[in-house]
C-alpha cells in the first residue's frame, strides 16, 4: 500500500510530541509549532497537502511494480491480498516492538520513582511526628506557632537530563499515576498554569480543581486546608508535580511556593519539579525568598543516551521481533539522534517509519510473522506455502541471494536458509553484548558499537590477524573505530573489573556453547591473578602498577588481558557476521535510507518554496505546464508568480516595483501596446485565447490579487510586512533553502 496513508496515521509518540508543542504554543512559538508538527512526519502531509499525496502516489508505485515486473503479469487481487497481509504482520511486529520499548522505559524509571516515593514517605512521617494538629488549628488562618522551622517546603528536583521535554511528559505522567496508586494526593501543574496573566490565583485554582472540586468560586489556600482535614485526607501527603520548571513564570511560581510554605505544617505539601537543564535552574527562576523556603533534594533520571542503549538492546539484540535495520539506516538514525533532536520519541518514530516502509516495500517481509513467534519448524512448510510464484522469483532475485550464488535449483534448501537466517542474529548479538560489557568500563555507548558492528564489509576484522594485534596500538586508521579503542582500553583494567567482566560474559554466553567454553577457559588465569592480588595485599589499580612495576601481578595481569583480548578477537573473527552479509537478509533488514529520510525530515519550508517556484508541476493545469517552466504566465497562480518575482530582489523588496512587475505579468504588454494588431488579426487572437486572459483585468482587480498574494506569502512565513521605518519595503524572511 502507499506510504502516504500510513505516514499520515500518527505514531503514538509523535502524538504526545505534537501535544507538547501545542502546549508550548502558549509561549509564543506558534510558527515553530507549525514547523514542529511538519517536521514530525505525521503532519507534513497536512502542511503541504496536495504536494505530498501526489508525490507519494507516484513515487512508491513504480518501485513496487519494478519488483513485480515480470513477463507474466501478476494478478491484482493476489497483490493486494499480500499488501493487506503485510499490513497485518506489520501490526503484530510493531506492537511487539512497542511493548518492549515501553517496558524498557518503565524499568529505567522505576528505581528513581521508588526513590521519590520513599523520600516522600520519610519526610511525611517526620512532619507528622512533630505533633498532629487539632482540626481548629489546622484550618485557622494564622500560622501554627509551636513548630520551629515550619516554613520549609520539601522539594524534589527531578533532573530529566535532556533539553527536550518530549520524552519526559510520559515520565511525569507515569510518576503521577505511580504516586496516586500509592495513596498520595497528586496534582500535576504545567507551565500553562503559571502564566503571569492569571497570577498565583490561576495556579491555586488549578490545584484546587484537581484536588477538591472542579468548580471553585474563588481559589483560596484555606480551601485546600479544610479539604485536607476532611474525611481521612490528612493521612496521606499532598504532592504537586510541576513537570517543566524552566518554562514557568518565575514570579508566580515563587508566590505559590511562599503561600504553600506558610501552610506547610497544616498541609504537608511535596513539590516535584522537573528540571531539564542544570540542577541550579530554580535559582535562576525563583526569587530569593522562595528559594530559601525550599528544602530541595535531587533525583536524576537516566539520560536519553542510556535509555537509547537500553532500547537498542531490547529491540535489536535481545530476541524481540526479527526486524532489524541495515548499517546505513542505523548510522542515519544515530546521526539523527545525535545531531537533530536527541529525543527518544523521535527515535522511536524513526524506527516505526522504517518498519512501516520495510513492510510496504518488501513483499517477503510477511515471513517476519514467523520470526515473531519463535517456533521455527512450521515456518518451513507454511512459510513456503505463502510464497507464490512471483514472490519466490523475487526472493531469488534478491541481491544477497545472487551474491551468494544461490540459484533457483537450490529451491528446496530455502527453508534451511530461512532457518539459519532466523537463528543467525543470536551469536552476533551475543558478541555485540559481550563487547558492550567490555566497553562499559570505558563508558562506550552501545549505539556506537551497534552501528559499527552492523557494518557489512567489516573493516575492523582485518586488524585481528595475529600480526595486527601486536601493533594495534600504533594503528592510525582504526583510531575512531570503537572496537579498537576498546581493545586498547582493555589493557588497563583492574583485576576486579576483569573478573566482573568475565562473570557478565558467562551470563551472556550461557546458551551459546562455543563462546562459553572460551570464556570458561579464562577462569583459572583469573583466579591466579586474584590470588596474586591478595598476595600483594593492597588493592591493585592500574595506576599503582604504573608507579612501581610490581613484577608478579604485573605479569599475571598482562597475560590475563591478552587472553581476554584474544577471546574478543576470536568472537569477532568467528561470529561477527552482520545481518547484511547473510542471504535472504532483505526479509528482515530495512535498508532504504533515502525513503526513511524523506519520510522523516519533511522540510516544509524548503518544500513550500520549491513548490511555489514550480507550481505547474504540482497542479497539472494544461495552460502553463506545456509552456517552459521559466517564463511567467498570467495563468499561473498569483502567489507563485509573486514569489518567483521576489527571487530577483535582494532580501528587501520594494513594494512598488514588485507590484509593477506583477502587473506586467498579469496584463501582458501586447494587449496594451498594440491593440490594433490584436483587433486586426482575430484568427491569431483566437488561436492563443486559451493562453491569454480574454481581456486584461482591471487595475483594482490586479491590486486586490496582489494584496491577497502578498498576504499568503506572509502567512506562509516567507516575507515580512513593512516596518515603521521603511513603509514601502517588505523583507524576505531570509532563511530556508
Amino acid at each position: 500500500m502507499a506510504p502516504s496513508g500510513t505516514v499520515a496515521d500518527p505514531p503514538p509518540s509523535s502524538a504526545t510530541d505534537s501535544f507538547n508543542s501545542g502546549a508550548t504554543a502558549e509561549n509564543d512559538i506558534r510558527p515553530f509549532f507549525v514547523l514542529h508538527k511538519a517536521s514530525s512526519g505525521n503532519l507534513q502531509a497536512k502542511s503541504t497537502g496536495t504536494v505530498k499525496s501526489k508525490r507519494r502516489i507516484e513515487s512508491p508505485s513504480p518501485s513496487k511494480f519494478a519488483k513485480k515486473s515480470e513477463p507474466e503479469s501478476v494478478e491484482e487481487e493476489d497483490n493486494d491480498y499480500f499488501s493487506t497481509l503485510r499490513l497485518k504482520v506489520f501490526d503484530t511486529v510493531w506492537s511487539k516492538i512497542e511493548k518492549t520499548i515501553e517496558n524498557v522505559l518503565r524499568d529505567s524509571n522505576s528505581k528513581v520513582f521508588s526513590g521519590i516515593h520513599d523520600w516522600i514517605r520519610e519526610s511525611f512521617e517526620s512532619i507528622r511526628s512533630s505533633g498532629a494538629l487539632s482540626l481548629s488549628e489546622a484550618v485557622r488562618s494564622y500560622p501554627v506557632l509551636t513548630q520551629a522551622s515550619s516554613k520549609q517546603l520539601f522539594t524534589a528536583l527531578v533532573l530529566t537530563r535532556n533539553l527536550e521535554m518530549v520524552d519526559d511528559l510520559l515520565t511525569f505522567e507515569e510518576l503521577h499515576l505511580r504516586l496516586k496508586s500509592q495513596g498520595c494526593h497528586v496534582a500535576k501543574l504545567s507551565s500553562m498554569d503559571f502564566s503571569a496573566k492569571n497570577g498565583v490565583g490561576g495556579c491555586l485554582r488549578g490545584l484546587l480543581r484537581q484536588f477538591v472540586m472542579p468548580t471553585i468560586d474563588v481559589a483560596d489556600v484555606t480551601i485546600l486546608a479544610s479539604w485536607y482535614r476532611e474525611n481521612k485526607n490528612h493521612e496521606n501527603p499532598v504532592v504537586i508535580i510541576v513537570d517543566d520548571t524552566e518554562r514557568c513564570c518565575g514570579s508566580v511560581l515563587s508566590d505559590l511556593i511562599l503561600i504553600l510554605s506558610e501552610w506547610a505544617i497544616k498541609v504537608p505539601i511535596f513539590i516535584i519539579m522537573g528540571v531539564s537543564t542544570a540542577h541550579d535552574a530554580p535559582r535562576k527562576i525563583l526569587s530569593m525568598n522562595a528559594l530559601q523556603r525550599l528544602c530541595a533534594s535531587k533525583f536524576t533520571l537516566s539520560s536519553p543516551a542510556e535509555r537509547m542503549d537500553a532500547v537498542l538492546e531490547a529491540v535489536f539484540l535481545k530476541p524481540c521481533s526479527g526486524f532489524t535495520v541495515s548499517h546505513k539506516v542505523a548510522l542515519f538514525m544515530r546521526s539523527y539522534f545525535l545531531c537533530q533532536d536527541g529525543t527518544l520519541t523521535s527515535f522511536v518514530r524513526t524506527l516505526k517509519i522504517a518498519c512501516l516502509q520495510h513492510f510496504s516495500l518488501e513483499p517477503l517481509s510477511i515471513m517476519l510473522e514467523h520470526f515473531c513467534q519463535d517456533d521455527s519448524n512450521q515456518l518451513s512448510d507454511e512459510g513456503t506455502g505463502l510464497l507464490t510464484e512471483a514472490t519466490m522469483k523475487h526472493a531469488f532475485d534478491l541481491p544477497s541471494v545472487t551474491r551468494n550464488k544461490i540459484t533457483r535449483s537450490t529451491y528446496e534448501m530455502l527453508p534451511q536458509f530461512l532457518l539459519d537466517l532466523q537463528r543467525m542474529p543470536n551469536p552476533w548479538s551475543i558478541v555485540v553484548l559481550c563487547i558492550y560489557e567490555a566497553g562499559k568500563f570505558d563508558k562506550l555507548r552501545l549505539l556506537d558499537i551497534f552501528c559499527e558492528t552492523l557494518d557489512p564489509e567489516a573493516r575492523y576484522l582485518k586488524y585481528f590477524s595475529p600480526s595486527a594485534t601486536v601493533n594495534s596500538q600504533s594503528h592510525i586508521s582504526g583510531r575512531n573505530s570503537v572496537i579498537r579503542q576498546l581493545l586498547r582500553k582493555l589493557r588497563d583494567l583492574s583485576p576486579s573489573q576483569l573478573s566482573s567482566l568475565l562473570k557478565s560474559w558467562e551470563k551472556l554466553t550461557a546458551e551459546f556453547s562455543e563462546i562459553n567454553d572460551k570464556v570458561m577457559e579464562l577462569h583459572p588465569f583469573m583466579r591466579s591473578v586474584e590470588a596474586a592480588g591478595q598476595r600483594q595485599g593492597l588493592p591493585s589499580s592500574p595506576k599503582k602498577h604504573a608507579s612501581r612495576s610490581h613484577s608478579k601481578l604485573e605479569k599475571e595481569l598482562k597475560a590475563m588481558t591478552d587472553k581476554v583480548a584474544a577471546v574478543i578477537e576470536f568472537m569477532l573473527r568467528e561470529y561477527m557476521k552482520p545481518v547484511e552479509s547473510v542471504p535472504f537478509n532483505e526479509i528482515l533488514c530495512f535498508k532504504n535510507v533515502d525513503k526513511l529520510q524523506s519520510a522523516l525530515l519533511g522540510d516544509p519550508r524548503g518544500r513550500i518554496q520549491s513548490d511555489l517556484l514550480e507550481s505547474h508541476s504540482i497542479l497539472h493545469c494544461m495552460c502553463c505546464s506545456q509552456r517552459g517552466t521559466t517564463t511567467l504566465l498570467p495563468s499561473m497562480h498569483d502567489t507563485s508568480i509573486l514569489y518567483t518575482l521576489a527571487q530577483e530582489h535582494a532580501d528587501v523588496i520594494n513594494l512598488h516595483d514588485w507590484y509593477q512587475s506583477f502587473k506586467t505579468i498579469l496584463v501582458p504588454r501586447s494587449s496594451k501596446a498594440k491593440p490594433k494588431s490584436k483587433t486586426a488579426s482575430k484568427s491569431k487572437k483566437r488561436k492563443d485565447r486559451c493562453e491569454e486572459p480574454p481581456e486584461p483585468p482591471a487595475e483594482a482587480l490586479v491590486q486586490a490579487r496582489f494584496c491577497r498574494a502578498v498576504m499568503e506569502l506572509q502567512i506562509a512565513g516567507l516575507i515580512r510586512m513593512p516596518s515603521k521605518r521603511r513603509p514601502d519595503f517588505v523583507q524576505r524572511v531570509a532563511f530556508g533553502s
Binding site: D28, P31, F33, L35, S39, G115, G131, L133, S134, L135, S141, T146, S149, S150, K151, Q152, L159, R161, L163, M165, G201, D217, V218, D220, T222, I223, S226, E246, R247, S276, H279, D280, R283, K284, N289, Q292, L294, A296, S297, K298, F299, T300, S302, S303, P304, L331, S335, L338, C339, D341, R445, L601, G602, D603, R605, G606, G717, Q731, V733, F735
Partner: protein, 525 residues
C-alpha cells in the same frame, strides 16, 4: 520567624494536641463541630508573660510596648502598625501577645489572600464563624469584593460578634473587643489598585468609627513608604529591629538538647555567617545542615565539649565553612548512584573527560545554536562579517589590536555601557546566519568527533541540507529551557528579538563538547 519554644512547653502542648487530635481521628467531617466564638481567641491554657518574654530573646521592649498599646481589657486603642525586616518575629510575636492577653482576634495574611476579594472574605468568614467545607461547597459566607460592601458587612458581623461576646459568660474574660491583624501589608503595593486598598486599610478605623475594633497592621516596610498623594492619618508605629548577634545566639540556643555543644558550634559559625545575613530563617537552614556535619566526629551527642574537642570539631568543620558561606541554595542529592550517572552522562569520547561535562543532553545542532546565540549576544553585530568570513575569524586578532589602540577613557565608557547593556539582543536571521557559519566551520571537527568516515558521508551533510525545520524547533526548545529568552510576539513578524541567557562557562563547556574553538570567535573588549 518560626518561634522556638523550650522543650517543656512543646511537650505540654503536644500532649494537648494528642488529646484534641484524638477527637479528630475518628473521621467526622468538618461541620460536625462548627467554630464557636472561642475560636477567635487562642484558647488553650494561659500563657504567662515570662514564658512570652523567654520565647522572644531580644524582643522584651517590643513585647511590653505592644501590650501597653493594646491596653487593659476592653480599652479602645488606636491602630498600630508593626514593622520591621523579614523574619524578625513580627507575626509570631503579635499572635503570641494576643494569646497571652487572651483576646479575640482575626488574622489575615495578604500572602495567602492574594487579592482584595480573598482578603475581605477571609476576614468576614472568621468574624462570622464560617468555615469552608464540602457541605457548603467551600464557598465563603459572604461574597464581597468592594471596600464599600466590606465596610457594611464588617459593621454587621462585628455587631454580631459583640452580642455573642456580651452574652458569653463562661470561661476567662476576653473583653468586648476584637482585634483585626493584617499581615504582609507590603504585598498590597504590588496588587493592581493596591494604593486604594492600602489607604482603605489605613483609614479603616476612622471609617468604621467602632472603638470595639482594634487594628494591628504588620508590614515588612516602614510606614513612610506607603505615603501616597492623598496620604492618611498613619497608625502608631512599632519597630522591630534586626536581631543583634547575641540575640541570634540565644535564639539558636533555644530548644537545643545539648546547649554546650551547640554554643561551641555557634562560637565557630555565628560570627562569620551573621556578617552575610542576619535573617533567622536563612541562618537556621544553614546551621541545621552545618551542625549535622559538626557532630559527625562525635559518637554521643550528649558530651559537653572541652577545649581540644572543640578544636578538633572546628578543624573538622573549617573546610566546609567557606563553600557554605558562598552558597544560597543547597540541593541534597538522594539518589545513591548519582555521581556514576553524572559521569556516564557525557557522550563517549576522549576529549570530553577532562573538561567539566555538561550534565544534560543536547543535540549537536542545539549546541551549535546555543553557541551561535551566545556569540550573537556577546559580539557586536558589526563584527559578524569579519568574524565569519572564509578565514573564520582570523582577522579577529587585528580588530583586537585596534581596540587596544583606542584611548583609555573611551574604552572605559564603552565597557561600562556594555556592562549596563548586558547580553545584547538579536533577530532570528542573525542567529541563523551565525549558526550556519559556525556549523560549517565546526563541521570538520564535528565529523570526526561524532561519526566514522562513512557515517560522515551519510549522516551530516545530508541533514545539513534540510536543517531548517528542525533548527526552528531547536530554537523553540532552547527558549523553553530559558537558555534563550525572546521578546516580542511572533518570530516571523519583525518584532521578536532574542537574547542569550547562557553564562560564558556553560557556553565554553558546550564549545568544548563540540571541540569548537569558541574563544577564537569571542570579541574581547
Amino acid at each position: 520567624m518560626p518561634p522556638r519554644e523550650d522543650s517543656s512547653k512543646v511537650a505540654r502542648r503536644s500532649t494537648r494536641f494528642s488529646s484534641s487530635s484524638a477527637a479528630v481521628e475518628n473521621p467526622e467531617p468538618n461541620e460536625s463541630h462548627p467554630p464557636t466564638i472561642d475560636d477567635l481567641t487562642f484558647g488553650g491554657e494561659s500563657f504567662p508573660l515570662d514564658a512570652l518574654l523567654s520565647d522572644f530573646p531580644g524582643r522584651r521592649s517590643q513585647i511590653l510596648d505592644l501590650i501597653r498599646l493594646m491596653g487593659p481589657l476592653d480599652s479602645p486603642t488606636l491602630p498600630v502598625i508593626v514593622y520591621g525586616d523579614a523574619s524578625t518575629g513580627k507575626t509570631s510575636l503579635v499572635l503570641q501577645v494576643l494569646r497571652h492577653l487572651n483576646r479575640p482576634f482575626v488574622y489575615s495574611s495578604c500572602r495567602a489572600c492574594y487579592n482584595p476579594r480573598v482578603l475581605f472574605e477571609s476576614i468576614l468568614n472568621q468574624l462570622l464563624l464560617h468555615s469552608k467545607s464540602s457541605s457548603n461547597g467551600y464557598s465563603s459566607a459572604k461574597r464581597c469584593d468592594k471596600p464599600s460592601d466590606f465596610v457594611n458587612l464588617l459593621r454587621q458581623s462585628l455587631g454580631n460578634v459583640m452580642e455573642t461576646l456580651d452574652s458569653r459568660s463562661n470561661g476567662k474574660p476576653v473583653g468586648k473587643m476584637v482585634y483585626l491583624v493584617v499581615d504582609h501589608l507590603d504585598l498590597i503595593k504590588e496588587w493592581d489598585k493596591g494604593a486604594v486598598i492600602l489607604q482603605f486599610l489605613f483609614n479603616l478605623y476612622s471609617l468604621l468609627k467602632m472603638p470595639q475594633l482594634g487594628v494591628i497592621l504588620i508590614s515588612g516596610l516602614p510606614p513612610d513608604v506607603y505615603y501616597s498623594n492623598m496620604g492618611y492619618t498613619d497608625p502608631i508605629p512599632l519597630y522591630f529591629p534586626e536581631y543583634s548577634e547575641d540575640d541570634l545566639r540565644q535564639i539558636f540556643l533555644k530548644n537545643q538538647t545539648n546547649r554546650k555543644l551547640y554554643s561551641a558550634f555557634l562560637d565557630v559559625v555565628l560570627r562569620p555567617f551573621s556578617r552575610v545575613t542576619r535573617r533567622v530563617d536563612e541562618l537556621s537552614t544553614t546551621f541545621s545542615s552545618l551542625f549535622r556535619k559538626y557532630c559527625e566526629p562525635l559518637d554521643d551527642l550528649g558530651v559537653s565539649p572541652n577545649e581540644d574537642l572543640k578544636r578538633r570539631l572546628y578543624s573538622h568543620l573549617k573546610p566546609l565553612l567557606a563553600p557554605c558561606l558562598n552558597e544560597i541554595f543547597r540541593v541534597s542529592s538522594r539518589s545513591h548512584d548519582d555521581e556514576r550517572r553524572q559521569k556516564k552522562a557525557s557522550y563517549s569520547s576522549e576529549n570530553r573527560e577532562e573538561v567539566g561535562v555538561l550534565d544534560f543532553h543536547m543535540s549537536t545542532s542545539a549546541k551549535f545554536l546555543l553557541i551561535a546565540a551566545f556569540l550573537a549576544s556577546r559580539n557586536p553585530a558589526t563584527l559578524d562579517a569579519s568574524m565569519f568570513d572564509s578565514t573564520g575569524g582570523m582577522d579577529n586578532r587585528k580588530r583586537k589590536r585596534k581596540a587596544s589602540e583606542k584611548s583609555m577613557e573611551k574604552k572605559e565608557i564603552a565597557e561600562q555601557e556594555a556592562v549596563m547593556k548586558g547580553p545584547g539582543s538579536f533577530p532570528l536571521e542573525r542567529l541563523l546566519a551565525i549558526f550556519q557559519c559556525i556549523a560549517s566551520v565546526g563541521d570538520t571537527s564535528f565529523g570526526e568527533e561524532e561519526e566514522e568516515e562513512e557515517g560522515e558521508a551519510t549522516g551530516y551533510d545530508r541533514e545539513k541540507t534540510n536543517l531548517m525545520s528542525d533548527i526552528l524547533l531547536q530554537v523553540s526548545s532552547l527558549c523553553d529551557a530559558n537558555l534563550i529568552i525572546k521578546s516580542g510576539s511572533c518570530p516571523l513578524e519583525g518584532t521578536s528579538r532574542y537574547r542569550s541567557m547562557v553564562s560564558e562557562d556553560l557556553a565554553l563547556k558546550v564549545g568544548k563538547s563540540l571541540s569548537f574553538p569558541l574563544a577564537k570567535y569571542l570579541y574581547r573588549r
